[in-house]
């Protein structure tokens, strides 16, 4: 009897779920007729099974599968960065710093380029000066601002399209200065021009 009781008590969930074969069902029914403990257990279990769980709503059920898969995909992507030793926050900070540096450099180069206008063909910046390519207007433009007095080249400081003749002359080699002096002399540019 006790052995039956214990066995049947263990089998009540399966009995309630209808998972037992017919003969065992009959045994349990007979036992339940005379065992108050097991009847109470069964009634409680039955009540438990009937309690409803509040529905979180259709939206939750519909969106959950896609949400889980998408979230996992995103986590994987983030983790794949981590496997290469790249941490998102420091990497972003580094990229931002690199971008700022690039902007700064390009600004700096631009301002230098503006100073040395590529359209301006500087006749004095080449090591051997070839005046054959020098336009008459260009000579005029340069010499207009230069004067020689006692072999000293003087310049009327002016910025023409961002060019300073002072600085250009400072960059010249002594041979270039001599060539320029000769050129100026041949054009009778001795003395002040202005």
């Amino acid at each position: 009897m006790t052995q039956d009781h214990d066995y049947i008590r263990e089998s009540l969930p399966e009995y309630l779920a209808g998972k037992l074969p017919g003969r065992k069902n009959e045994d349990i029914k007979r036992h339940l007729d005379r065992c108050v403990d097991c009847s109470q257990d069964l009634a409680l279990m039955n009540k438990l099974r009937k309690t409803e769980v509040p529905d979180p709503g259709e939206l939750f059920w519909k969106t959950l599968p896609g949400k889980v898969v998408a979230k996992h995909r995103n986590n994987n992507q983030r983790n794949s960065w981590l496997t290469y030793g790249i941490r998102p926050v420091p990497a972003s900070a580094f990229m931002l710093l690199a971008a700022l540096l690039a902007v700064f450099m390009s600004h700096s180069i631009n301002s230098r380029q503006r100073y040395y206008d590529p359209l301006f063909s500087d006749p004095f910046s080449v090591s051997s000066i070839d005046y054959s390519t020098l336009e008459r207007d260009s000579i005029h433009e340069i010499t207009e601002r230069l004067s020689i007095h006692d072999n000293v080249v003087d310049v009327v400081e002016d910025r023409y399209f961002g060019h300073s003749y002072h600085e250009e002359l400072a960059d010249l080699h002594s041979d270039e200065i001599n060539n320029m002096l000769k050129a100026l002399e041949s054009q009778h540019k001795n003395g002040g021009v202005l």
Binding site: L44, L48, T51, P65, V69
Partner: protein, 180 residues
């Protein structure tokens, strides 16, 4: 298509296969979480976390147990974590706040909603509660329940019977008749 086929399909790159698995089990997982926590929001969180953990570790899923048992095991662990966190949080709250929540109005609402049984269920210790839930609601065998809870079958039986006994006492105290 059975669960193992769907898992294999997912592992070979078909994401829809895992979505199908979620659709198949989401209500069961949510139900289990709700019976453990009796909180809709917590149960939604647990459900989502269960599937996230499942999809993350599915490549390590060994066919030793069924996919359903494996999912239940994850849900059980997550529910226990939630309950432990909640207990900590509740301990931090003042007695008066908890007292108000469990006041006469609360009891009335519980009765009206027919949740008195669930309330009695929540009155039993976590492990006993889970063994009742898995055995009664889910109809799992002692062996499956033991596997999920990572305890012996004997311990499942003890937890289950002690839990039912305690529930009967709790219901008796409130004047409910478990036999009706």
């Amino acid at each position: 298509m059975d669960d193992i086929d769907l898992v294999e399909q997912y592992l070979s790159g078909n994401e829809k296969a895992f979505e199908e698995l979620i659709m198949k089990y989401q209500k069961k997982i949510y139900g289990l979480a709700y019976r453990m926590t009796r909180d809709i929001e917590e149960s939604k969180d647990i459900t989502q976390s269960t599937f996230l953990q499942a999809i993350r570790y599915v490549s390590g899923f060994r066919n030793k147990s069924s996919f359903k048992t494996w999912l239940y095991k994850i849900t059980y662990n997550l529910s226990l974590n939630h309950l432990n966190k909640r207990k900590k949080h509740e301990a931090e709250l003042s007695e008066s706040i908890i007292g108000n929540e469990c006041g006469a109005l609360g009891i009335l609402l519980e009765k009206e909603r027919g949740y008195e049984i669930l309330k009695a269920l929540s009155g039993v210790p976590d492990r006993q509660r889970l063994s009742i839930i898995l055995r009664t609601y889910e109809g799992l065998s002692c062996r499956e329940t033991a596997e999920i809870m990572n305890i012996s079958e004997g311990a499942v039986k003890a937890n289950y019977h002690n839990g039912l006994k305690k529930m009967k006492v709790l219901i008796g105290k409130k004047g409910y008749d478990s036999g009706s």
